[in-house]
C-alpha cells in the first residue's frame, strides 16, 4: 500500500525533502546486513510505499508540496532533482506569491477555502497513482501561518474527501523561547482543529531535536538542515518496511493502519511521541557496538522517565510496585504512564531479542491489557547504516508539560489587557 505525503509550509517542505532523501539513501545503501532477497524485497516495499516508479528510472516521490510562497518549494524541487537518485513530480506542487504572514486565520479562513480545489485536485491525482492507497502523511509546523492554518484546513478536507483513509499528521512543536511571537496562538488553534479530523498526531519538538544534535551528534553549529535530518532519520526508522507483529514472511502491507491499530486504542488519546536510539555522528558508527539488551534497557528508562535521548536519563524514576493498592492517580508525578507502545527493531540478531520488559503492566494504564497495549515489529534488515536500531513510538503522557506550557502562554497573551 502507498502513502501520500502532503508537505505544508516552509517547515513541512524542508522536512519532507529530508525524509525522502533519507528513505532513498537507505534503500540504495549496501549495509542491509541481510540476504540479497531480503534486501530486494525491502527495497521494493519501500518504493511501493513512498515512490512511484517511472520509465525514467529515477523514482518519483509520492508527495504534494503546498506553500503560500514560492521560494521553499523551488528549493526543494531543485535539491531533489540535483541529487540524481529521486525527484519530485513536476506537477505536484501548489504555491502562491504571498505567504500567510504567520497568521493562522489567514491560512485557515482565507487561503484554505480559496485554494481548496486546486490543492485537493493535486492530492486526488497522487492518490489515483497509487495501486492501493494506504493513507496520508502530512508534515507541518504549528508555529507559522501556512503549515498550521492551511494544514488544519487541508487535513479537514482530506477527512471529508477520503473518509475511510488513515491520516497521520506530523507536527513540529516550536522552540520554547520563541521562533514566532504568536506561535502559542497558532499552536493552540492548530491542535484543537487537528484533533477533530486527524487519526493521530506524531509530534517532534524542536528543543529536543536541537539537544540531540548538540549532545549526541556533536554538531557545533546546528542548522535547520541538521535538525531536519535527525527528524528524517527518526521518521525513516518508523516508516521503512517492517515484518508484521505475527511474524510471517513479507513486509507489512498496511503501515499506517497497523500503526493506528497498535497505538490509538482510544479516540481521545492521539498524540504520539517518537524515541530512536542509538543516535550518533556517522563518523563514530564504525567504532561503536551495541547490544540489544542494553538498547532496550535505555529505551525503557527513557520511556518511564520521559527522557528524549540516551544521555541524562533519570535512572531514579521507577514504576510503582505492582500489587500495591495505589490507584493510578497517585503514581509519582514524574513517571510517564503509557497507553500504548510500539517497539520497532531493525538490524542484526533481531529475532532473538527479548522485549518482555516492555510488557510490564505497571507501565500502562489500568484499563488496557499489556498484551494489547504493547507490540513489537522486528526486521533483520538494518536501517541507515546503524547495525542495530530501536525506535519506540509511544502514546503516553510525554506531551503534558509542553502542552500545558503552550496553553498557559497563549492564555496569558489573550487574557491580559
Amino acid at each position: 500500500m502507498s502513502i501520500v505525503t502532503v508537505q505544508l509550509g516552509q517547515c513541512g517542505n524542508q522536512i519532507g525533502h529530508e525524509v525522502f532523501s533519507a528513505l532513498c539513501s537507505d534503500i540504495r545503501g549496501t549495509h542491509g546486513l541481510c540476504s540479497k532477497n531480503e534486501n530486494q524485497s525491502y527495497q521494493d516495499s519501500c518504493k511501493e510505499r513512498f515512490f512511484c516508479e517511472e520509465e525514467s528510472a529515477v523514482p518519483v516521490a509520492r508527495a504534494v508540496l503546498v506553500d503560500m510562497e514560492p521560494k521553499v518549494i523551488s528549493q526543494a524541487l531543485s535539491m531533489a532533482a540535483s541529487s540524481g537518485h529521486w525527484r519530485y513530480s513536476s506537477h505536484s506542487h501548489f504555491c502562491q506569491k504571498q505567504g500567510s504572514g504567520n497568521n493562522w486565520a489567514n491560512g485557515y479562513c482565507v487561503h484554505g477555502p480559496r485554494h481548496k480545489e486546486a490543492i485537493m485536485n493535486l492530492v486526488q491525482k497522487e492518490a489515483e497513482r497509487c495501486d492501493r492507497l494506504g493513507g496520508f502523511f502530512t508534515i507541518m509546523s504549528m508555529a507559522g501561518g501556512t503549515g498550521s492554518g492551511l494544514g488544519a484546513f487541508v487535513t479537514q478536507c482530506l477527512r471529508d474527501a477520503f473518509p475511510t483513509s488513515f491520516i497521520l499528521n506530523h507536527v513540529i512543536w516550536p522552540y520554547g523561547t520563541g521562533e514566532v511571537i504568536v506561535q502559542n496562538y497558532n499552536s493552540v488553534l492548530t491542535l484543537s482543529h487537528l484533533y477533530h479530523s486527524s487519526d493521530a498526531l506524531l509530534v517532534h519538538e524542536n528543543d529536543v531535536i536541537h539537544k540531540i544534535c548538540a549532545q549526541l551528534m556533536n554538531i557545533k553549529q546546528i542548522s535547520f538542515r541538521d535538525v531536519n535530518q535527525v527528524i528524517a532519520h527518526q521518521l525513516g526508522s518508523v516508516f521503512q518496511p517492517t515484518h508484521p507483529a505475527g511474524g510471517g514472511s513479507g513486509y507489512s502491507r498496511n503501515p499506517l493502519g497497523d500503526l493506528m491499530e497498535t497505538l490509538v486504542p482510544h479516540p481521545e488519546f492521539r498524540m504520539l511521541g517518537l524515541r530512536n536510539i542509538p543516535q550518533m555522528p556517522e563518523s563514530s558508527l564504525p567504532y561503536s557496538t551495541f547490544s540489544w539488551p542494553g538498547l532496550l534497557k535505555h529505551l525503557r528508562q527513557m520511556l518511564i522517565a520521559n527522557a528524549q535521548m540516551e544521555e541524562g536519563i533519570d535512572w531514579q524514576v521507577r514504576p510503582p510496585q505492582p500489587g500495591s493498592s495505589i490507584p493510578s492517580t497517585n503514581k509519582p508525578l514524574h513517571f510517564n504512564t503509557s497507553i500504548a507502545n510500539l517497539l520497532i527493531l531493525r538490524g542484526k540478531d533481531v529475532h532473538s531479542v527479548d522485549v518482555g520488559s516492555f510488557q510490564d503492566p505497571s507501565l500502562y494504564t489500568s484499563w488496557l491489557n499489556p498484551q494489547d497495549a504493547f507490540n513489537a515489529w522486528k526486521t533483520p534488515r538494518a536501517f541507515n547504516k546503524y547495525e542495530k536500531s530501536a525506535a519506540l513510538v509511544s502514546n503516553s503522557q510525554f506531551l503534558l508539560k509542553p502542552l500545558d506550557s503552550i496553553v498557559g502562554k497563549a492564555w496569558n497573551m489573550f487574557a491580559s489587557k
Partner: protein, 475 residues
C-alpha cells in the same frame, strides 16, 4: 514572489531613496552573477525593453535589459529630483514616475498636505495605479520622508492616506526621519506632531530614525578607521555608511553616509522576502508579530555590524558580539535605550552564515538582561536569510517594539507645546484653506494618547507577574 513599491517624498525622502536604489543595485549585482532577471530582482525592479524607447514592454524572464525602479519620486521643488535625474541613476527611474513642482512647501505641513495634496491628488493616484499594475503581487509600500519639513511631512502623510484608501490590502511601512533637538527648522515640532497623527492612524508600521543617532554612528566609524587601533584594515565596501563598490562612482555628498545607514536598514528588512533562507521572514510577518495593538506600531531598529575587518577568520565570539551590539544604546537608530525599557516584542533578522544554534544561544544569553511585558515573556520573532549583505559574512537587524520610543515622543510634545502656547508661527498654518485650530488640538491629543498608552505599559514593568487564572473546564 511579491513586489514592493517605494514612495519617496520631499528632499530627505528623495536623498535617502536615492541611496537606497544605489545600494540595492549593488547588492543584487553582488548576488546575481549571470545577469538573469530573477524573482529577487523583481521585488524592487522592473525589467524593461528600452530598445524601442522608454515605453517598451516589461520583460519577465531572461537576461536583464534595463532595470527600472518600482518607485515614485515626489517633491514640490525641483532641485533634488533634478539632481538625481542628472546623476548616474538617471536610467533607473522612469520619467513617468516623478511628480514635481517649483516652489516647495515652505516648511509648512499645511501647504504640503492641504494645498499640494488636493492639487496633485489625481496625478498621484494615477501614477500609483500604474506602478501597481506592473506588479504581479504587490505586498508593501515603503514611504520614506522626514517629519520636520513641509513636503515630506505634509504631502508624505497625504500620500499615506491615499494609499490606505486606494490600496487597503497593501502594507504601508513608513520610514520617518524625526527632527533632532537642534533642528534648524523652527516649525518642525508643528509639522512633526501634525504628521504623527496621520502615522498613528494610517500606517501599518513606522520605523523612526533620528539624525543624531545616524551622526553618532558615522562618527564612530570615522574614529574606528582613523585611529589605527585595529591591526587589520577595515573593508571599505562593508561600511554600513559606504557607497563603495558600485560600478558608478559618485562624488560623496554630505548626508550620504547617514542616508546609507537608512538604505541598509530597508535592504536588510526586505532581504528575507527577496532571498532564500532556512527560516523566512516576510514583510507581513513583521507587522503580524511586532504590533500587539494597532496604535503601537513604532519599531526601534538597530543594525550590526557597522563594518567588517579584512581578516577572514570570524570566531564565534565576534558573532556573539554582533548580537550584544544590537541591543546597545549606540547602535539604535533613534536616541533610545531599549535595554532599560519594556519590550513588547522583538524581531531578529539574521543574514549570512549564521545557524539556528547561534541564534538560540544568543537569545538565551541576552534574555535575562531584557525586560519583556508580562504577556509576552518569550516573545522573539526570528528569521534566517542565507544571503549576507555586501562585504559582510553575516549581519543582524533587530526590530524592537519597545517603550523606549516614549521619550522621543514626549520631547516632541514639549517642543510643540512651547510654540503652541504662544501661538507662534500659527498664522502661517491657519491661513491655509482647510486648516483650523482643531487640527492642532486633535493632533496633540492623538500624541498624548499614544504617550499615555506607553505609560500604562511601563507601569506594569518590574511589577509582580500575576498571570490571569486559567479557564476551568466543566467535567
Amino acid at each position: 514572489m511579491t513586489q514592493s513599491v517605494v514612495v519617496q517624498v520631499g528632499q530627505c525622502g528623495n536623498q535617502v531613496g536615492c541611496r537606497f536604489w544605489d545600494l540595492a543595485l549593488r547588492e543584487h549585482a553582488a548576488v546575481n552573477k549571470k545577469g538573469i532577471y530573477d524573482e529577487a530582482l523583481s521585488s524592487f525592479f522592473r525589467n524593461v525593453d528600452t530598445r524601442s524607447g522608454d515605453n517598451g514592454p516589461d520583460i519577465y524572464k531572461g537576461k536583464i535589459c534595463s532595470l527600472k525602479a518600482r518607485a515614485l519620486l515626489i517633491d514640490m521643488e525641483e532641485g533634488v529630483v533634478n539632481e538625481i535625474l542628472q546623476g548616474p541613476l538617471r536610467d533607473v527611474f522612469d520619467s513617468k514616475q516623478l511628480i514635481t513642482d517649483v516652489s516647495g512647501s515652505g516648511n509648512n505641513w499645511a501647504v504640503g498636505h492641504k494645498i499640494y495634496g488636493c492639487q496633485y491628488r489625481e496625478n498621484i493616484v494615477e501614477k500609483l495605479r500604474k506602478t501597481a499594475e506592473y506588479c504581479d503581487c504587490l505586498q508593501c509600500f515603503f514611504i520614506i520622508h522626514s517629519m520636520g519639513g513641509g513636503t515630506g511631512s505634509g504631502l508624505g502623510t497625504f500620500v499615506l492616506n491615499l494609499l490606505e484608501e486606494e490600496f487597503p490590502e497593501v502594507y504601508r511601512f513608513v520610514t520617518s526621519v524625526y527632527p533632532s533637538g537642534e533642528d534648524d527648522v523652527i516649525t518642525s515640532p508643528y509639522n512633526s506632531v501634525l504628521a504623527m497623527k496621520e502615522l498613528n492612524e494610517h500606517a501599518d508600521c513606522v520605523l523612526p530614525i533620528e539624525n543624531e543617532s545616524l551622526f553618532e554612528i558615522v562618527n564612530k566609524i570615522h574614529q574606528m578607521i582613523n585611529s589605527g587601533k585595529l591591526g587589520s584594515t577595515v573593508k571599505q565596501s562593508s561600511l554600513v555608511t559606504s557607497s563603495a563598490g558600485n560600478a558608478k562612482t559618485l562624488p560623496e555628498k554630505p548626508f550620504d553616509a547617514m542616508n546609507n545607514i537608512v538604505a541598509n536598514l530597508l535592504l536588510n528588512l526586505t532581504s528575507s522576502a527577496r532571498f532564500e533562507g532556512s527560516l523566512n521572514m516576510d514583510l507581513n510577518e513583521i507587522s503580524m508579530n511586532l504590533v500587539p495593538f494597532p496604535r503601537l506600531h513604532y519599531l526601534v531598529s538597530s543594525l550590526t555590524p557597522l563594518y567588517t575587518l579584512a581578516d577572514v577568520n570570524v570566531p564565534s565570539r565576534r558573532l556573539d558580539q554582533m548580537f550584544s551590539d544590537a541591543f546597545s544604546r549606540d547602535h539604535q537608530l533613534i536616541q533610545a535605550d531599549p535595554k532599560h525599557s519594556l519590550y513588547l516584542a522583538c524581531a531578529l533578522l539574521v543574514r549570512g552564515n549564521v545557524q539556528v544554534s547561534d541564534l538560540r544561544r544568543n537569545i538565551e544569553r541576552l534574555k535575562p538582561s531584557l525586560h519583556f511585558v508580562s504577556w509576552n515573556q518569550e516573545g522573539w520573532k526570528t528569521g534566517l536569510c542565507s544571503v549576507p549583505p555586501v562585504g559582510h559574512s553575516h549581519s543582524l537587524l533587530a526590530l524592537a517594539n519597545n517603550t523606549c520610543v516614549k521619550p522621543t515622543f514626549i520631547e516632541l510634545k514639549d517642543r510643540f507645546m512651547k510654540l503652541y502656547k504662544k501661538k507662534a508661527h500659527l498664522h502661517h498654518y491657519l491661513q491655509i484653506d482647510g486648516m483650523e485650530q482643531s487640527c492642532f488640538s486633535e493632533a496633540i491629543a492623538s500624541l498624548s494618547d499614544l504617550i499615555e498608552e506607553y505609560n500604562e505599559l511601563d507601569a506594569t514593568k518590574g511589577g509582580p507577574r500575576i498571570d490571569p487564572s486559567r479557564l476551568k473546564i466543566a467535567v
